[in-house]
């Protein structure tokens, strides 16, 4: 009989590894992109790929780690609640920030082909 908790722990470790790679890629992109509107792409990788995926993986790792006792269900539940909060709140916050930045003209829209939002605003 294969131990079921070991399989859950392996799936969780794979998800945490994917999330850490996405986090590093998002951080490098946040440092290297030249403009605010291009850095929003790196922020998307850093939040959804770098926070949502390793939180689900950490919840699976906590379920499989039987040495924590009954408190592992508390850890797993908190991790899943945090993951779904981030999944809902991070795109909303980024969208509000981008819209406010475009509305207040904080930075120029640099690689621009057409900007319908600016044409509609005036």
């Amino acid at each position: 009989m294969v131990d079921a908790s070991l399989i859950v722990v392996y799936i969780g470790e794979i998800l945490v590894g994917i999330g850490v790679l996405c986090d590093l890629i998002g951080a490098i992109g946040m440092l290297r992109f030249p403009n605010f509107y291009l850095r929003l792409h790196a922020a998307t990788i850093g939040t959804i790929g770098g926070a949502f995926v390793p939180l689900i993986g950490a919840a699976l790792m906590a379920i499989g780690s039987t040495y924590l006792g009954m408190y592992r269900w508390f850890v797993a539940g908190g991790a899943i609640v945090t993951a779904f909060l981030i999944l809902i709140l991070a795109p909303a916050g980024s969208h509000a920030l981008a819209r406010a930045t475009h509305h207040a003209k904080v930075t120029p829209v640099q690689p621009k082909v057409v900007d319908h939002l600016e044409e509609d605003g005036r």
């Binding site: 605010f36 939180l55 508390f74 850890v75 916050g93």
Partner: protein, 93 residues
């Protein structure tokens, strides 16, 4: 055996998170406008919430879990406050 394996895996995960946090902090310090700073702190703090959950498994202490939930909610409040300030030039109440 499973305890040693999880602890060793998280020990290899921690330095990669530290490198990512350092890169986010560099962008937050030299960001040309207020939006770049807020965006960098935003992405860094969502990753910090995931890092706290991993640390609570690593240290076997469950006191760090409510910290992650509250951190995710407060950084959304920071986004909304800065967006409101940029649009209407006032903080509200």
């Amino acid at each position: 055996m499973i305890e040693e394996q999880i602890t060793t895996y998280i020990m290899y995960i921690i330095p990669i998170y530290m490198i990512a946090f350092t890169l986010y902090i560099i962008r937050a310090l030299k960001g040309p406008s207020i939006s770049d700073t807020v965006l960098a702190i935003d992405a860094m703090t969502y990753d910090l919430a995931a890092f706290l959950v991993l640390l609570s498994i690593f240290f076997r202490s469950t006191i760090l879990i409510p910290t992650a939930i509250v951190l995710a909610l407060w950084i959304y409040a920071l986004d909304i406050y800065v967006a409101k300030y940029l649009e209407t030039k006032e903080m509200g109440e």
